[in-house]
């Protein structure tokens, strides 16, 4: 451990050798964490590195299986959320923990309501929250219903909740994943302010620019263990990235871009596509793009800028409000999910647990999901054919364990994703839509999956890649488009794209202009 040693006296949090299992998954392996009082400490690592689990343990949501937690020098191992809150530890979850049918004020005071033992003093609650809003700078109307708030406002309510409980230690899990750039800037302003007012902050993130911009110290986790600890001022983005991944990473990624002539007829062509979202009227706003055979078009962007809605509309889960979608020349704008698949659309969904797999189905069954009509004779499933297909795919994609009768629930994330990819690549397809293809997947499987995508590209398939990982986009894409606020704001040839170039577009700081 490359530790910057500190005296134990000024530590707000001290975690020693924590282990945590979830079934067969070893989420934390002898993880350590030391957080200095009055600092912003980044807790960084790739998806699945164990950051969130560690924070849940600190906040009392989960007990550790082994190891000790100290807060302000007191051993609090295995405490409850109520005890954690009383001791001034507040957590802002990645998925908001707000009751949509209650007002802002009610959400903030919930669990520590003003009033007597029985009656709830609503007027007092509103006054309390309004004064907290004034002192913290977290602007939000105490009277509004939480269901009506924007994402940024909802997050402010989450932070207000912790401050209302007198939190002196604030744990934030990926707070910027869902925020727009001005909201992110606001958040940093508020966090610096509360730090200066005497609060310790732990910030979970995997975004390097955030780490370098606002934190005082950095703790890096990899595969459940703590692997490095550094002072932000003395570190470089390359150094942090190396610690996160465990090997040298060239942030300027090597490109192996294929050049496809712009004259080639696109395999997938989308024109002026507009899609309604759950919260916004135009989650996808007049998007046009074309993917040609033999190329990978990467869509970069901060999550929540319309990518999911765009994917849903392409695959057929969500109806388009306007615009058109053509696959190999055929208009599929109104076609069903199955008709699109039959027309040659393969799809790696962004959420394999919700969309991609049926966890209680076997590997063999999952390998034919969406292809069931090709694996049956008459009404009946062709079990021999299903089994033969499974054995072949398990070998070809090195899926482990190798017994196709096992339920995919018991597989590791990487092997589950291999099942999805094996199935999609075994279709007869001309266009592959790959969404977050390596999310929650171990490093070995990432390489494997990237190779599989490149092979498909080289075999003349058109691939639309959507990923929140900019490095993945840069590694795989031949062309790169940036999505922001429901629009494609710019597009680059791979050779012209770097993190530095794309960044301002992803954060909405720049629009258009540079389009090649």
């Amino acid at each position: 451990m490359t530790a910057a040693t500190t005296g134990t006296g000024d530590l707000a949090i001290r975690i020693r050798a924590v282990d945590k299992w979830f079934g067969a998954v070893h989420a934390n392996r002898a993880a350590d964490l030391e957080v200095v009082r009055n600092e912003i400490n980044a807790l960084v690592g790739e998806n699945g590195a164990g950051k969130s689990t560690l924070m849940k343990i600190v906040s009392g949501l989960q007990p550790p299986d082994r190891g000790t937690i100290e807060v302000n020098g007191r051993d609090v191992t295995g405490w409850s959320t109520a005890e954690a809150i009383r001791a001034g530890v507040g957590m802002v979850h990645q998925h908001f923990m707000l009751v949509p049918t209650l007002s802002v004020a009610e959400n903030v005071v919930l669990g520590r309501e003003p009033g007597g033992r029985a009656m709830f003093d609503r007027a007092q609650a509103i006054r309390d929250v309004e004064s907290l809003v004034a002192s913290s700078g977290l602007a939000v109307d105490a009277n509004r219903l939480v269901a009506d708030l924007s994402v940024g406002e909802a997050q402010r309510v989450e932070i207000l909740k912790t401050l209302y409980r007198g939190a002196r230690i604030l744990l934030l899990d990926e707070p910027t994943a869902v925020l727009s750039p001005p909201e992110v800037a606001d958040l940093w302003r508020v966090l610096r302010r509360v730090r200066d007012q005497g609060t310790t902050i732990v910030l979970i993130t995997h975004k390097l620019d955030e780490i370098m911009a606002v934190t005082d110290r950095i703790t890096v986790m990899r595969q459940g263990a703590t692997v490095a600890r550094m002072v932000t001022k003395e570190s470089t983005p390359e150094g942090v990235a190396r610690a996160m991944v465990g090997r040298d990473v060239s942030l300027a990624v090597q490109s192996s871009a294929a050049q496809v002539s712009a004259d080639t007829a696109p395999a997938l062509e989308i024109r002026n596509l507009t899609v309604r979202g759950a919260r916004v009227a135009r989650a996808v706003n007049e998007v046009s793009l074309a993917v040609r055979p033999g190329e990978i078009l990467g869509i970069a962007g901060v999550e929540g800028n319309g990518q999911s809605e765009l994917l849903d509309a392409i695959v057929g889960f969500r109806a388009a409000e306007g615009g058109s979608l053509r696959l190999g020349g055929a208009d599929l704008t109104r076609a069903s999910v199955r008709a699109r698949a039959d027309a040659g659309l393969a799809h790696i969904p962004e959420d394999r647990h919700h969309r991609g797999l049926i966890l209680d189905y076997s590997i063999a069954e999952n390998l034919i999901l969406g292809l069931q009509h090709r694996f049956s004779t008459g009404a009946q499933l062709d079990r021999a054919k299903i089994r033969a297909n499974a054995e072949q795919q398990v070998r070809a994609f090195d899926i482990r364990p190798t017994d196709p009768a096992l339920a995919v629930r018991g597989l590791s994330g990487g092997n589950q994703q291999k099942v999805v990819i094996a199935r999609e690549l075994s279709r007869e397809f001309s266009v592959l839509v790959a969404a977050q293809p390596t999310r929650g997947v171990d490093v070995g499987a990432i390489e494997f999956i990237h190779d599989a995508l490149r092979k498909a590209r080289n075999a003349g398939k058109a691939i639309l890649l959507v990923s929140a990982e900019l490095r993945e986009i840069l590694t795989l894409s031949d062309r790169i488009a940036v999505m922001y606020g429901g629009r494609i704001v710019t597009e680059f040839a791979r050779a012209d794209a770097t993190e530095e170039v794309l960044g301002p577009f992803m954060t909405g700081a720049r629009r258009d202009g540079a389009a090649a």
Binding site: S59, V99, T101, L110, A118, M119, R165
Partner: protein, 291 residues
């Protein structure tokens, strides 16, 4: 037909609905499905008969009936909260269980398969307005929904129950003991709903086999039609009771078959959940066990 007669008869019919629907609102707002209202009522009715028979006092009957209801609520709570049993199945099972256990003990205690002996009741005899006004349970029934409104919207417990019914994980993360809130709501629901059965027994001065006759489900219909809100559910109870009263008073006229009047609550409820006129949306975490 005088208005007073109509009103007093409607209220007489509405009182058990108000108690049971109140119980339903309480439990469902905290996220626990209440298919067992019928069972709570029947249990309360039987408890009241035993209590009043043994002591000769209607008040003791009331206490015994409520105790039975609370006990059944505890059973429901134990299964669904501690053991995370499916709430719908549990509700159906409790209804079956109560029908059986009341029949069994009816046989054991009174050696009858149909009814208990005559027991004490409240207030005067007959169906008149005066007898109605002398019955404290009638006043309690009328007060149920207004009081429940205060409990749910104005007390700390109510705020927490609503939070637990909508988003238990959020409540949990704030240190609220989700299970404790749900236990309180479900046991309270059993006690409150059982008053509906207590009222029936004491009003009719005896317990008869399966005497609640589906009233618990009409109350459930009122809860859903009333969109899980005490005031609206109360109005739904009064509406359903008024329709029944009308049907009884028009019986001689044979305008509409009684079966079709009896259907009104059920049809309205289906219309309400189908969203044809203003969708009826349940608490978000209704039916889901907290992790």
């Amino acid at each position: 037909m005088t208005l007073l007669l109509f009103l007093s008869q409607a209220i007489r019919i509405a009182v058990p609905y108000l108690f049971a629907a109140g119980g339903g609102v309480l439990a469902e707002r905290a996220g626990i499905v209440s298919l067992s209202l019928e069972g709570y009522m029947l249990g309360g009715a039987f408890g009241a008969a035993i209590g009043a028979h043994v002591t000769g006092s209607a008040w003791a009957g009331l206490a015994a009936g409520v105790a039975c209801g609370a006990l059944l609520g505890s059973l429901h709570a134990l299964c669904t909260i501690r053991f995370r049993a499916d709430q719908i199945v549990t509700g159906v099972a409790i209804n079956l269980f109560v029908v059986g256990i009341t029949r069994f003990f009816l046989q054991l205690a009174f050696d009858s398969s149909s009814n208990s002996p005559r027991v004490a009741g409240f207030g005067g005899e007959g169906a008149g307005a005066w007898a109605l006004a002398a019955n404290p349970l009638v006043w309690l029934g009328i007060l149920t929904m207004p009081v429940l409104g205060v409990v749910i919207y104005r007390t700390t417990f109510g705020l927490r129950a609503r939070a637990v019914g909508e988003h238990p994980a959020a409540a949990e993360s704030l240190g609220i003991r989700v299970s404790a809130v749900r236990y309180a709501a479900v046991i309270g629901s059993g006690a409150l709903a059982s008053l509906g059965g207590v009222y029936l027994t004491l009003d009719q001065h005896q317990f008869t086999d399966s005497m609640t006759a589906g009233r618990g489900f009409i109350a459930l219909a009122a809860v859903i039609f009333g969109r899980w809100d005490p005031k609206r559910a109360g109005i739904a109870c009064l509406l359903f009771a008024a329709a029944e009263t009308l049907q009884i008073q028009l019986q001689g006229a044979q305008l509409i078959p009684s079966q079709f009047v009896a259907m009104i609550p059920y049809v309205l409820t289906i219309v309400a959940v189908a969203g044809v006129v203003g969708r009826s949306t349940p608490p978000a975490a209704l039916g889901r066990a907290a992790d």
